[in-house]
C-alpha cells in the first residue's frame, strides 16, 4: 500500500521539499545511521566478546543484564535524557550542588542534537547486536581460536581477525534491525528536533495535509533499506557460514583478575547504566513526585491487553517466520524468499505510515471480500494482531535466518537419505535444533509489541488501551510526570520476556557452566 503511492501523481510539494529540506532530511538520516551503526556495533560486539571470552567477577550478572536496555523504548530514553542532562536538569543541578557552582555553570553539554540522538538509539538498540554476537561467539569453534593463539595472535587480534569476520552474517542481521528501527523512529528525533526523513514524512502529512507525498517519501526510505538488504545478501552469497562439524566444544574462558576484571566489568556496565538504570531511575523519581493513583482497574486492564496481545502476536509471528524460512531453505521457493524480504521491510516503515497502509489494506479487504457481512478488520483485535505481525516480522525472521544458518546442510542431506522431508524434517530435525531461535523470536516480538504505539492507536477498537497508549496520552503533551508510571510499566512488562530470554540463554549451553 505504501509502495503503491510511488505510482501515483507527484504533487507540487515535491519541488518544495527538493528545494529546501530534502538535503537536510537525507544528510541527517545518513549521519544518524552511520553514527548509530558504529556505536551500537562497538557496544554490542565488544561486550559480547568480553562476556563470552573472559571469566570475571560479575560476568554472570552482566551476561543477562546487557539485554535489559531492550526494554527501554528510544523515545523514553530521549525524554529521560533531556530531563537528566538539560541545562537545568537533574545531572547539572547535582554537579552545581556538589561544587556549589554558579547557576550559569553548565557541566554537561546540550544533548538535544544529532549526537544525543546517536547515543539514545545506540544504547537502546545495541542488544540486538549483542544477542546475535554473543550466541555466534559461543558457537564458534574452539579449535579455530586455539589455532589463532598458537599462531601467536594477541587476544585483540583474535577478536577482530578471527572472531569478528566469522560472526559477520549474524551481526549484520542484528545491525539491520538497529538501522531499521532508527530510521523508522519518530518520537526520539522529534523530541530532539532533528529533521530526519521520518519527521519529514509526518511534517508533510500532518502539516501540509499531503498524505500522498508523505507516503512517497516513506517509500523512498523503504527502497533505500531494500537496496541495502539486497547488497548485503549478494555480498555474502558466495560464502557459506555453516560450520562443517557439529561436534561442539565450548571455548575455554580466560579468567581475569583484579584491575583487568574491574575494567571489563566497567566496560560492560556502562551500556546497562545508560540504557536502563538511568531512565528507569528518572522515571521512578517522576512517578513518585506525581502520585501513585494510576494503579486502578483501567491500568490493570491496559496491562492485561498489552500482555495478551503481545504474546498472541509473537507466537503467530514466530510460527510464520519459521515456516517461511524453512520453505526457503528446503524448497528454495523464490516466492517465499521474496515474501520474507518484503515482510521484513515492515520494520523500517515509520509506525504511523505503516498503520495507514494497513488501514487502507483492511478497508480494501472489508469492502471487497467481507462486504456482505458486518464484520470489519479495521478496528478489530484481529486486525491489530495482523498489524503487529507485519511490523515485527523482521525481528522473528532475523533470528530464524541465523538459526538456520547454524544448522549444517549436511544434516538436511542425511535426513533426506533417511526419507525425512517436509513437515517431518521440520518438526523432527530442525525444530528441536531451532528451539532457542523459536523462543528468542517470540520474546523479541513480544518486547517489540509491548512498546508498539502508532498502529495500536489507529487500529484499535473502542475503549481499548494498552500501556504504550496510556504513556502516549501523557507524553504527547510532554506531561512526563503523569506518563512516568505507565512508562515504568512498559519497561517492567518488557522485562518479563527479556528475563525469560536470559534464563534460556544461560541454560542453552549447559556445558558452559
Amino acid at each position: 500500500m505504501v509502495l503503491a503511492s510511488l505510482l501515483g501523481d507527484y504533487s507540487d510539494n515535491w519541488a518544495h521539499l527538493y528545494d529546501y529540506v530534502l538535503v537536510d532530511y537525507i544528510s541527517n538520516t545518513l549521519y544518524l545511521i552511520i553514527g548509530v551503526s558504529l556505536l551500537s556495533l562497538l557496544i554490542g560486539t565488544v561486550t559480547a566478546w568480553i562476556v563470552t571470552t573472559y571469566d570475571f567477577f560479575g560476568k554472570r550478572f552482566l551476561e543477562w543484564a546487557l539485554i535489559l536496555p531492550l526494554a527501554t523504548p528510544p523515545y523514553i530514553l530521549a525524554y529521560t535524557f533531556t530531563g537528566f542532562f538539560d541545562a537545568f536538569g537533574t545531572a547539572n543541578n547535582f554537579i552545581r550542588d556538589i561544587f556549589s557552582l554558579d547557576q550559569s555553570f553548565i557541566f554537561f553539554p546540550n544533548i538535544r542534537n544529532i549526537y544525543g540522538a546517536v547515543i539514545v538509539f545506540s544504547f537502546t538498540l545495541y542488544p540486538y547486536i549483542y544477542l546475535v554476537s554473543r550466541s555466534a561467539f559461543l558457537n564458534q569453534s574452539r579449535s579455530m581460536l586455539e589455532a589463532g593463539r598458537m599462531l601467536g595472535l594477541s587476544q585483540f587480534e583474535i577478536f577482530y581477525k578471527l572472531s569478528l569476520p566469522i560472526i559477520r552474517p549474524a551481526v549484520i542481521g542484528g545491525l539491520m534491525l538497529v538501522i531499521m528501527e532508527t530510521i523508522s523512529d519518530f518520537g526520539a528525533v522529534d523530541h530532539f528536533a532533528i529533521q530526519t526523513f521520518t519527521t519529514g514524512v509526518f511534517r508533510t502529512w500532518h502539516g501540509m495535509y499531503d498524505l500522498k507525498t508523505a507516503m512517497q517519501l516513506a517509500s523512498i526510505l523503504l527502497i533505500f533499506v531494500a537496496t541495502f538488504v539486497w547488497i548485503e545478501k549478494i555480498s555474502r552469497k558466495k560464502a557459506l557460514y555453516t560450520s562443517g562439524t557439529s561436534t561442539f566444544k565450548p571455548t575455554k574462558k580466560i579468567k581475569l583478575l583484579k584491575y583487568k576484571a574491574f575494567i571489563s566489568f566497567f566496560i560492560c556496565f556502562i551500556p546497562i547504566l545508560i540504557g536502563f538504570i538511568l531512565p528507569i531511575t528518572e522515571l521512578i523519581i517522576w512517578a513518585i513526585s506525581y502520585n501513585l493513583s494510576f494503579f486502578n482497574e483501567k491500568f490493570l486492564l491496559a496491562a492485561m491487553n498489552t500482555i495478551l496481545l503481545s504474546i498472541t502476536a509473537a507466537v503467530l509471528c514466530a510460527s510464520i517466520a519459521l515456516i517461511i524460512n524453512f520453505s526457503i531453505r528446503f524448497k528454495k521457493y523464490r516466492f517465499s524468499n521474496f515474501l520474507s524480504s518484503f515482510l521484513s521491510l515492515g520494520y523500517a516503515v515509520p509506525g504511523l505510515i505503516l498503520a495507514v497502509g494497513i488501514v487502507q489494506l483492511f478497508a480494501l479487504i472489508d469492502q471487497n471480500i467481507l462486504f456482505n457481512s458486518d464484520i470489519i478488520l479495521t478496528g478489530s483485535i484481529v486486525g491489530l494482531i495482523f498489524a503487529y505481525i507485519i511490523k515485527s516480522y523482521a525481528l522473528a525472521n532475523s533470528t530464524f535466518e541465523s538459526g538456520f544458518q547454524r544448522i549444517s546442510t549436511n544434516l538436511d542431506d542425511s535426513a533426506r537419505t533417511l526419507k525425512s522431508s517436509g513437515w517431518n524434517l521440520l518438526s523432527r530435525v530442525h525444530l528441536p535444533l531451532l528451539k532457542t531461535s523459536f523462543l528468542t523470536s517470540i520474546l523479541m516480538v513480544t518486547s517489540e509489541v509491548v512498546k508498539e504505539l502508532p498502529a495500536t492507536l489507529i487500529l484499535r477498537p473502542f475503549n481499548f488501551d494498552t500501556l504504550a497508549v496510556a504513556t502516549y496520552i501523557y507524553a504527547a503533551e510532554e506531561r512526563m510526570f503523569q506518563a512516568a508510571a505507565p512508562a515504568i510499566a512498559i519497561m517492567l512488562v518488557g522485562l518479563i520476556p527479556i528475563i525469560l530470554l536470559t534464563k534460556m540463554i544461560s541454560s542453552s549451553r549447559p556445558m558452559d557452566k
Binding site: T82, Q103, T199, F202, V359, F462, N463
Partner: protein, 342 residues
C-alpha cells in the same frame, strides 16, 4: 465458507459486540486528559448514553475516517487544533450541527463554516518574559510583528516549526498580511532566536526563567499546569520567575487556537452526538474542564482557573477565523522551511 472463515467471523463478532449497544456515542479524539473518564461517566449518568472512545493522532484518525467511509461507527471527531477540523470539513466528513443552544453560546468566529464544528475550549499563544532582563518599555504593546526587530537579536526562545501551534500562528499571520509580508517577517524573526528550536512549549518557559532567553512564545495554559505543581518543583519554581504578555493588544488581538469538535456525516447516533456537544458546552462542564486543563472557557459566564486569570482576563482576542489556520497551514510550513525555521 470454510471452517476458518467461520471461526474468524465468530471471533470478530465477539470482539465487536460493543457496537451493538443502542444508546451510545462514539468519539474519535486527539484530546486526552486525566479527567476525561470522569467527564464521560458524568454524561452517561445524566443521559444514559454510553461514551466510546478511540484516542489517537488527529491526522491518523482522519485517515481512519476516510477508509471506513460509510461504515464508520464514529459520531464525533474531537481535536486540539483548528487545522485538523478544517481538514475534516474540507474532506466533507462533517455535517452541520443543528443545535440552537450551541449557536447561542458560541461566537461565530469559534464555529466552523456552516456550523460544521464548534470550539469547546480556547488557548492563547502568548509571550512569556523574564522581568529581570526585559524592560517595561520593551514589553509594552509588544506584538508578534515586533519580534522581527533587531533589538530582540539572540533573545527569543520558540519551539520547532514542526509544532502545530507555531504553524497555526504563522498561518494566522499569512491570513492577515499575506505570504510575502509574513515571509519577510519570518526571515528576520528567525535570526533573533536565542538557540536552535528545541523542546516543548514548557521548555521555552523554563529557558526564559533560567536566562537562556529573554522572551518565549508558548501557549497560555502551560503556565497554569506548571504553577499547579503537578509537573514538579523545578517547573513550579521556573514558572514563578516569568510573566505573561498578551501580544497585539493595540491592534487585532492575541492569537487564539481551539479545542473543538464536529459531528460526522455518517454518524449513526447523531442525536446523542448533539447531546454530547451540548453537554461539553454547558456551564458546569466548562468550569470543570478549564479548571483541569487551564484553557480559556467558551462560555462568557464561566471564569478561567484562578492562576490563569491572575495574568489577566478580558484581553483582546484575535478574531481571525480559526478556519483560516487550516487553510494556510501548508503555506505556513513551506514558508518556515524557506526561511530556515528548523
Amino acid at each position: 465458507m470454510n471452517k476458518f472463515q467461520k471461526l474468524i467471523i465468530t471471533l470478530t463478532t465477539i470482539i465487536f459486540s460493543a457496537s451493538a449497544l443502542a444508546s451510545e456515542v462514539n468519539v474519535y479524539t486527539s484530546r486526552h486528559y486525566d479527567s476525561d473518564d470522569a467527564l464521560y461517566a458524568e454524561f452517561t449518568k445524566k443521559t444514559g448514553i454510553k461514551v466510546n472512545i478511540i484516542s489517537g493522532n488527529g491526522s491518523a484518525l482522519i485517515e481512519r475516517l476516510r477508509v471506513e467511509g460509510k461504515n464508520s461507527p464514529a459520531d464525533i471527531y474531537f481535536t486540539v487544533d483548528a487545522g485538523n477540523l478544517w481538514k475534516v470539513q474540507k474532506e466533507g466528513y462533517f455535517k452541520a450541527i443543528n443545535s440552537e443552544s450551541i449557536k447561542s453560546v458560541v461566537p461565530e468566529n469559534l464555529r466552523g463554516p456552516n456550523d460544521e464544528w464548534v470550539a469547546i475550549a480556547k488557548r492563547a499563544r502568548v509571550i512569556y518574559y523574564n522581568p529581570k532582563s526585559v524592560t517595561k518599555n520593551e514589553i509594552n504593546n509588544l506584538s508578534y510583528e515586533d519580534l522581527a526587530e533587531p533589538e530582540w537579536k539572540g533573545r527569543i526562545a520558540i519551539r520547532s516549526s514542526s509544532n502545530m501551534y507555531n504553524q497555526s500562528l504563522v498561518a494566522s499571520l499569512i491570513s492577515n498580511h499575506g505570504i510575502e509580508k509574513t515571509e519577510n517577517w519570518a526571515k528576520k524573526f528567525v535570526t533573533n532566536f536565542a538557540r536552535n528550536p528545541q523542546g516543548s512549549d514548557r521548555a521555552q518557559i523554563v529557558a526564559v526563567a533560567n536566562g537562556e532567553a529573554d522572551i518565549a512564545i508558548a501557549n497560555s495554559y502551560y503556565i497554569g499546569i506548571m504553577l499547579s505543581g503537578k509537573s514538579g518543583n523545578d517547573q513550579l519554581e521556573a514558572a514563578k520567575k516569568v510573566k505573561m504578555h498578551f501580544p497585539n493588544q493595540d491592534n487585532r488581538g492575541t492569537h487564539i487556537n481551539i479545542s473543538g469538535a464536529g459531528i460526522l456525516k455518517n454518524s449513526p447516533n447523531s442525536e446523542n452526538a448533539i447531546k454530547f456537544l451540548e453537554f461539553l458546552l454547558s456551564e458546569d462542564v466548562q468550569q470543570y474542564m478549564v479548571n483541569i486543563s487551564f484553557e480559556y472557557p467558551i462560555l462568557d459566564n464561566v471564569d478561567p482557573h484562578a492562576s490563569i486569570a491572575s495574568f489577566g482576563v478580558g484581553f483582546k482576542e484575535d478574531r481571525t477565523s480559526v478556519a483560516d489556520y487550516g487553510k494556510y497551514n501548508p503555506d505556513a510550513i513551506r514558508l518556515m522551511d524557506r526561511t530556515g525555521w528548523k
